[in-house]
């Protein structure tokens, strides 16, 4: 197990290297220059040349990439070419907010989805099942920006319950967290329900029942434990998605997170920020997947990850 973990962790390095290589290539292939911020008032060519030299952008692309990799190995992510602030500082300010928002949403999604999925599976084809299915369908089919609009006009402008923009106080966090959680909650609830239904029909559950075990014990230690394996496999990617994918929510509620900064950096061709953010996101997705694989092995002894 330990050997496997170490091997997987070592694999992170080449994966990140290729992510960096592809991102760097794509960013450089995009036409234009980060110093052309205003199409109507371009700076003089001498000024642009000076900046290019300052940021090393006058060098051949492969040399720039090599320099970047060497610097990243030293944990130096460079300076934003547009904001002239260290990338680490920019990410350091935005990422905690995005991560907090994502984690809150994940916890909320799990807290809602697991009970909902379990109950609706146990009460299959009853009114409870249909109601929860209805909400799960709404959650998956209605995009978050539509929900955001609905929340803004109903809870903020209508009922005056929450502020629309900003971050910091619990009131500010309610709407973005709920909306971000909604899609994931619906998805997880459906997975939970489906795998519960499958587990209930397994032979070992029938055996447990015929042994005369109490229903509670059957559900918790026989059905639920097995039903959670497929759920666990999707929680990892879902968590990564929540932490990295809140751009729309951040825009709607003016949350000072990483998503808005990421999109800005791409539109402005702010290479070091694009690179730094992509690598960070990639790192989180890799770690999320790795944790899932490890948890998977713990939940289901039949799967031998250690091989």
């Amino acid at each position: 197990m330990l050997k496997y973990t170490i091997r997987r962790l070592l694999l992170v390095i080449p994966t990140l290297f290729f992510v960096a290589l592809i991102t760097f290539g794509l960013a450089k292939a995009a036409p234009g220059s980060p110093f052309d911020r205003n199409p109507d008032k371009p700076p003089k060519q001498e000024v642009i040349d000076r900046w290019n030299r300052f940021y090393g952008l006058d060098k051949p692309v492969y040399e720039q990439f090599a320099m970047y990799v060497v610097n990243v190995a030293k944990l130096d992510f460079g300076l934003s070419v547009v904001r002239q602030r260290p990338v680490v500082e920019i990410i350091g300010q935005g990422f905690p907010v995005t991560a907090q928002l994502g984690l809150q949403a994940l916890l909320l999604a799990l807290a809602v989805a697991l009970p909902l999925g379990v109950i609706s599976a146990l009460k299959q084809n009853t009114i409870i099942d249909y109601v929860s299915l209805f909400f799960a369908t709404i959650g998956t089919t209605i995009p978050s920006f539509v929900m955001a609009i609905f929340f803004i006009y109903f809870f903020a402008l209508g009922l005056k319950l929450f502020p629309i923009t900003g971050w910091g106080t619990p009131q500010h966090m309610v709407m973005p967290t709920i909306i971000l959680a909604m899609g994931a909650a619906a998805f997880l609830a459906r997975i939970t329900r489906a795998s519960m239904l499958e587990a209930i029909r397994q032979d070992y559950v029938r055996t447990a029942r015929s042994k005369g075990l109490r229903e509670q014990v059957v559900v918790v230690s026989h059905v639920l434990k097995n039903a959670l394996i497929p759920v666990a496999t999707v929680v990892g990617p879902a968590a990564a998605g929540l932490i990295t994918g809140s751009f729309i929510i951040e825009t709607f509620f003016s949350v000072p997170g990483m998503g808005r900064e990421y999109v800005r950096s791409i539109l402005a061709l702010d290479y070091p920020v694009i690179m730094g953010t992509t690598l960070l996101y990639a790192f989180f997705i890799i770690i999320a997947n790795l944790s899932v694989d490890l948890v998977y092995g713990m939940l289901d002894p039949r799967i031998k990850v250690a091989k």
Partner: protein, 567 residues
């Protein structure tokens, strides 16, 4: 990237639609605001009030010598004040930190400014002419300056120093170049500039952000982070007390400012979607917000919002540029035909939802010195346009096949382009293909000279209210738009150069008007519209004197007149 943008504009449209629905069936009840102070009578200025504004996005920099975009200058403008400023109603340069208008030597080359007595920074320390000397020199410094250094090139030595590459020359050479720059504090209260040639337009330049008195000690102490509140110390109406990146900037009244400001605090939020800003305004999270053309319908549908709508004059002209180096636009007849064949009035009404003014007086917009409504060269006249097109040489006319219109892409630019395409098809019978380009890649297209785009979108916004900043900066041979179009006219150059140096204001205006008409007739570009804006503001915000140069801060040039009544 484009897809994502499309996605955003899609949900922005949805938000606008939803707000239409809601505004149709709900009425707004203003809630008590935490900014109101007990004990202040209704209708009286609340000296403790907070004003909530939108900064749009996070500014890339708020360093006065580096700033170039409105949302960068707008933050620095709260904290700093220059030697001069602009009169809130006439837009004429008036003394700010200077005690009076500068003394100009007989040859028109030396400008001497005298400071007011007893000026202080917000931390209570004294402000002297030395501080201004440092700031203006910093504006020319190749290691410190930004996009706007060029406005100081009229000062002896500035251009040579600014054009040096600090990585290629020795520190001694840099120091020598710096020593040659003719910006000198001659005493604690006096500073003198020597110019390369007589330039009456130097006075408004000394009002610009490039000369705002940043302190050397702060820049040294703060390094890359000197623009954070601890070291961002100025002499303006407010001080920066908090900057939460990507979230908000907080400014509080500077009690050491030379005038009395009637409210305590400004919080600038960073909301980059206009529809979200509008929702925040309705929720009393903003006191004032600009209204985008796309949101105008929502605002007009709500009687309360509609009653709060205000027109704001702009400082920009937009135009279509022609590449005069090759067919079809090497023929002035074809250029003028294009310029005379689109209906500017309809454009403003239909495309811009009535925001802005049709360009009916040449290059310089209404409200700026040099606006000339006797300039009728490019007036809309489809019949005349057709006749001009018929007169054009066959070789040039051959270039009309496969003609492309190139523009920096945005959903707004696309609507504008489609409208123009339709006008040229209807009025001239010419089919123009649309060619949208990513805005960061736009400038690069023009480095190809001859092969640069044939027909393209352009715009110019005033840096300072003077004809020199329009005609000479933009259209003299090699100027910004002249370079892109390939325009070079001796007649125009002579007139503009002569006007730049003319010290008699009446003669100067006449020369510039003559130059402007020459330009419109040569038509290296077709003037489209003078921009403007609309905004809504809460009824408790009073005393705002709008001015087109106000750096996006309504009422900036008469900040002391703004007050907030209890609400």
């Amino acid at each position: 990237m484009t897809g994502r943008r499309g996605g955003i504009s899609f949900f922005v449209t949805l938000l606008a639609l939803a707000s239409l629905l809601v505004s149709a069936c709900s009425q707004q009840t203003p809630t008590a605001d935490q900014t109101a102070t007990p004990g202040v009578a209704q209708g009286q200025p609340d000296l403790n009030a907070e004003v909530l504004l939108n900064a749009g996005g996070e500014p890339d920099t708020i360093d006065p010598q580096k700033a170039s975009f409105v949302n960068e200058i707008a933050q620095a403008a709260f904290v700093f004040e220059g030697l001069m400023t602009f009169d809130a109603t006439t837009t004429k340069p008036v003394p700010a930190a200077a005690a009076k208008m500068p003394e100009v030597s007989a040859d028109g080359l030396k400008y001497k400014y005298t400071l007011r007595d007893g000026l202080k920074y917000s931390d209570g320390s004294r402000l002297t002419a030395k501080n201004f000397e440092y700031a203006f020199l910093r504006g020319c410094d190749p290691t410190q300056s930004g996009d706007y250094a060029f406005v100081l090139y009229i000062v002896v030595g500035c251009e040579a120093w600014n054009n040096m590459d600090p990585r290629k020359v020795s520190p001694a050479e840099l120091a020598a170049a710096k020593a040659k720059v003719a910006i000198k504090a001659t005493s604690d209260l006096e500073i003198e500039f020597t110019l390369t040639s007589p330039a009456p337009f130097f006075v408004p330049i000394t009002a610009l952000w490039i000369g705002w008195p940043v302190r050397e000690s702060d820049v040294k102490k703060g390094g890359d982070k000197w623009t954070e509140p601890a070291t961002y110390i100025g002499n303006g109406p407010f001080k920066l007390t908090e900057w939460k990146h990507n979230e908000k900037l907080v400014f509080e009244r500077n009690d050491n400012y030379r005038k009395k400001i009637q409210f305590r605090k400004i919080t600038k939020l960073m909301i980059n979607e206009s529809s979200v800003a509008l929702a925040a305004y309705r929720n009393n999270e903003l006191d004032l917000v600009g209204v985008a053309a796309t949101d105008l319908r929502t605002v007009n549908a709500d009687p309360e919002l509609k009653s709060q709508l205000i027109d704001v004059a702009g400082s920009c002209t937009t135009y279509y540029g022609f590449n005069v180096r090759r067919p079809p636009f090497d023929d002035p007849n074809i250029r003028l035909a294009f310029a005379k064949s689109f209906d500017r009035v309809a454009f403003v009404k239909d495309v811009q939802q009535g925001i802005g003014k049709p360009a009916d007086g040449g290059f310089i917009p209404l409200g700026f010195p040099g606006y000339d409504n006797t300039d009728k060269e490019q007036l809309y006249d489809p019949a005349a346009a057709k006749a001009l097109l018929d007169k054009a040489s066959p070789a040039s006319k051959a270039g009309l096949t496969g003609l492309k219109y190139t523009f920096a892409s945005s959903s707004n630019a696309k609507t504008r382009a489609e409208w123009a395409q339709n006008q040229w098809r209807t009025n001239l019978g010419v089919t123009v293909e649309l060619d949208p380009v990513q805005s960061t890649a736009y400038s690069a297209l023009f480095k190809k000279g001859q092969e640069a785009p044939q027909l393209f979108s352009l715009g110019w916004c005033a840096d300072f209210p003077d004809q020199q900043n329009w005609h000479s900066t933009v259209w003299l041979t090699g100027g910004l738009s002249a370079g892109r179009t390939g325009y070079s006219s001796k007649a125009f150059d002579d007139l503009a150069r002569q006007a730049d140096k003319e010290s008699d204001p009446a003669k100067r205006d006449a020369l510039y008007n003559q130059a402007g008409k020459q330009l419109s007739k040569d038509a290296p570009a077709a003037w489209v519209d003078y921009d403007a804006g609309k905004r809504i503001q809460k009824p408790w915000l009073k005393g705002i004197t709008d001015n087109p140069m106000d750096y996006g801060i309504p009422g900036y040039f008469a900040m002391e007149k703004i007050f907030v009544v209890k609400h």
